[in-house]
Symmetry: C2
Subunit: 353 residues, 2 copies
């Protein structure tokens, strides 16, 4: 597929949307060579798509799951209206378990259940109410990402060579656009991010869409790049941020944070709407362990010797001591993060996200 | 292919050998699923096989190149006997440039040229003399690896969970065999080592052949494994060791050395025959930059967006400050390495390697 054919990656509403009774999800696994949408007609389809990495990223999976719950509400409501809310509550719990590390999935589903309950009590069209809820969430998520990206742009300097890991989502793209607008010349180095290659497939595509120079490296190359000056700072996203400033992000992030500190390079985190005030510290974040076969088999070909198992923790925790700043929609927070976060949570969080 | 069908990986003489006028090289890229040999009948074939990663590892490429030079000597000698030695000298120089980082390739080819000159002056059969030279080198290399492996086994404890990166070669296998013989229970964690996947393809196979537990991870996972206790020490090989203790090894090694220090885990290097006494420090080691397309294309499929370039430094340098011990055939050397190496070079090196 030609890059021009792919919708701007920062616009999730063109990657996850309802068409009639079907949820269409852009299959990120097929990028950058194929533009393919998966059609989901049931909650089970959506759960499988999330679990199977058709869609990924903390926000994207939250919206996909929320649409999935809307589809399920429509299906169930016709048959057993009075059982709908308890049933959807159970569905939401099972959706939360598809990817336990990020916290946005849980947060959006909990808010959706409240919306469902209210709509049900008022006798409103449940499906319509929930679709509107998701659209509103996506809109607010976009605004959050835009603000976060603008705040992040202030940390980028003309001539920066920025390492990122995995695909850091819309805020990263907004940060690049804003920095370009400010006349800054940037270059990105993207780690390929095995096993799902989000860095290779999505980050390089996003950089191309924005018009920023980008080079691809394997996940083992960042220390060389740091030593040689190929990169001079690191900017990654977060799937969950604890109140102490610990960050859960794609496995590998911890490695690059340690290496950045060793090479005295700044390590920044895109925190979107800020920390999860229900998560106290890194130890409180569950790390998703995925099937080891996703490591031993690549594109349907086995790469390890017979009988050898893979091990696949999907995320790791970067401790606050290695992080120089966490960028949120409400501003850039510096250590000590627990102090900075308290201000954000009390003054901004309730209205922003 | 069944694991039983693959010759023991520590035995290079079953992976690189002369059959008539042909050099047979086990194609490591096809492992672990296929057992395939590449037949080389010219120096050009051999250079391409080395450059194209059919065979890799500092010792293995040295032996393959040396056999290649023997084949070329045979071909040329018949036609222009008196020009043979200057011609072979030129050939050796171009072979050295195929993979510049490791030092064994240069060292073996230089010794081979001396052998060629002597054989030529004595009117001996040049081909036979050079083949015997390579066989002798392989035999001595095996003894060096065995001694190095036995010395390394002393650093392994019962219950160790050892991270290794790339394929650390015969000494690693001998170390595992010796540790098992000593009744130690070991488990290996192998990084897959993108882009050529030597960890996935070779290290897992070697561990299986030895009968040691092994799990495969991606190159981004070691920091998680260190934090969680999945591994408790690191043991890697070296393509070149400078006299100050700087180590060139597969790119990624530096990252894991930094992470091991952060997590207070020991980081050990298999130094085989010891340092290169002609290389003073890490800055004196040339880092091979390979074609970026080897990063952007994976198993014939493009993984990056159109127009995006890959960047592929094949090695990186780990500074001595991050290394707890370098294991050589003459014993284990601890920091300060320059002191320890001087003793080895003066007392052992001349006879051992």
């Amino acid at each position: 597929v030609n890059i021009e054919g792919v919708p701007p990656l920062e616009d999730l509403s063109k990657q996850i949307f309802i068409e009639g009774n079907t949820l269409k999800i852009l299959d990120r696994r097929a990028l950058p060579t194929k533009l393919r949408f998966m059609a989901c007609t049931s909650l089970d389809d959506v759960a499988k798509a999330i679990k199977g990495m058709v869609i990924q990223g903390a926000s994207a999976i939250a919206y996909a799951a929320a649409y999935g719950l809307a589809l399920e509400a429509k299906r169930v409501y016709r048959k057993r209206a009075h059982e709908t809310i308890p049933y959807l509550t159970g569905c939401a719990e099972s959706l939360k378990m598809t990817r336990p590390t990020g916290e946005k999935l849980s947060r959006v589903l909990d808010k959706e259940l409240i919306t469902a309950k209210q709509a049900h009590e008022r006798g409103e069209d449940l499906f319509r109410a929930l679709v509107q809820f998701v659209e509103r969430e996506m809109w607010r998520g976009r605004e959050t990402a835009e603000r976060c990206g603008r705040n992040a742009a202030a940390l980028l300097r003309d001539g920066d060579r920025v390492l990122t890991h995995c695909y850091p989502g819309p805020a990263f793209i907004y940060a690049l656009r804003e920095a370009l607008k400010e006349g800054k010349n940037l270059n990105i180095v993207a780690t390929e991010t095995r096993p799902y290659l989000q860095g290779a497939k999505l980050t390089t595509l996003a950089a191309k869409q924005v018009g920023v120079g980008v080079r691809l490296v394997t996940d083992g190359m960042p220390a060389y790049c740091m030593q040689q000056g190929v990169i001079n700072k690191v900017l990654v996203a977060a799937d969950r941020i604890a109140m102490d400033g610990s960050v859960a992000n794609k496995v590998g992030t911890r490695l690059y944070a340690i290496a950045a500190r060793y090479h005295r390079l700044p390590f920044y985190v895109l925190g979107y709407g800020g920390p999860d005030y229900l998560t106290r510290c890194g130890d409180d974040i569950p790390i998703e362990l995925r099937d080891g076969e996703e490591v031993t088999v690549f594109e349907n070909r086995r790469i390890a010797a017979e009988g050898v198992e893979g091990f696949y923790p999907a995320f790791d925790i970067t401790p606050p001591e290695l992080i120089d700043a966490i960028v949120t929609d409400a501003g850039v927070v510096y250590p000590p993060f627990n102090e900075g976060f308290k201000r954000i949570v009390t003054t901004v969080r309730s209205s922003a996200d």
